[in-house]
């Protein structure tokens, strides 16, 4: 059964990801939290299930903020949508880093952006926490799911287990759960 996928125009995909790219301070998960807020909560382009799957796939190869953008773009408009989202997302950082590289290799100084980062860093963390709470409420509500979420947190945050390992193990838990349910019914 196909879910209805919203009809979103390519320029709207481009504009949305350009804005996300331009304000995506903090890298990785901070950017993914921005995408979640814009595309899932505000615009309702896709559901939590799909979005979180995209986030999980994004961990496989390359920067996962870019990968999640590509996933959302593809989900809405196929290959063209994916490429549009990727290009629009990278464009602002590319232009900014190029300009700053020019200054750097001419003057050998990093621009005075450190204070700006110190101000925005706590906000970035707050944004990730808010996104995490939203996802937890919907997808880690029962005791068993909450336990898996807690184990995944501890493995990644405290023991340095790679995201890919955590996700594959969780997937196997899902398979086992499905198999158990199948046997009972």
């Amino acid at each position: 059964m196909e879910k209805d996928i919203k009809r979103v125009s390519l320029p709207e995909i481009a504009a949305t990801f350009f804005l996300i790219g331009a304000t995506g301070f903090g890298g990785g998960m901070a950017i993914v939290a921005l995408i979640e807020r814009r595309c899932v909560q505000e615009k309702k382009w896709l559901g939590y299930d799909e979005f979180m799957h995209g986030l999980a796939f994004g961990q496989i190869l390359g920067p996962f903020s870019l990968n999640t953008s590509i996933f959302v773009g593809y989900y809405l408009r196929g290959t063209l949508g994916g490429i549009m989202a990727a290009a629009a997302f990278i464009a602002p950082s590319f232009l900014l880093v190029s300009a700053l590289s020019l200054l750097y290799f001419r003057f050998h100084e990093v621009a005075e952006l450190k204070s700006a980062l110190l101000g925005s860093n706590p906000i970035v963390i707050a944004l990730i926490v808010v996104a995490g709470i939203g996802m937890a409420r919907r997808k880690a509500a029962g005791l068993e799911s909450a336990t898996v979420a807690a184990i995944a947190f501890a493995a990644s945050a405290l023991f340095g287990v790679s995201a890919l390992t955590v996700l594959v193990l969780a997937g196997c838990w899902g398979l086992w759960k499905g198999w158990r349910k199948g046997r009972l019914s």
């Binding site: 995506g24 590319f94 190029s98 925005s120 947190f153 990644s156 838990w173 759960k177």
Partner: protein, 174 residues
Amino acid sequence: MAGILKLALVFLKIGVVFFGGGYVLIPLLHRIMVDQLHWLTLKEFLDGVALSQLTPGPLAMLATFAGYKMAGFPGALVATLCIFFPGTLLMLFISSRYQRFRRVDAVNHFLDGILPAVVGLVFAAAFTLGRTSLASARDFLLLGVGFLVLQFTAIAPMAVILGAAVVGLLLQFS
């Protein structure tokens, strides 16, 4: 031009071996850019890392910086396109399979299992970032205010992030 071609090949290769995102990239690029190819000095490399953390976007924008050093603006463009190309291709492929394979039961069970783990990873990212960047009472105050604003108001997160960055600049946070 041979220089640009070499640049393209090196960054394509990095794009292929760059599993797991973000922080795997720093030691990898360090080994290749500084130790093996001598394209950047250690100081330039560290400044480049700082620069890509200070600007919005993924850490992999470090490729733009290194490419710029090697061949100016065209170099920056080629390096950026090449480092992102393999992952983009793979992600487009996975996205296209995703919609097809979701009809298979086993795939759905696997994907359902992943969901709570994603929640754990999201909090782990916040924790890791917090451990390295929350130092003073001021940081925790900003975190608290930011949380309340983002959780309970409809103010766009872009505005909140940029607002906090401006506050940092104006008050000369150090």
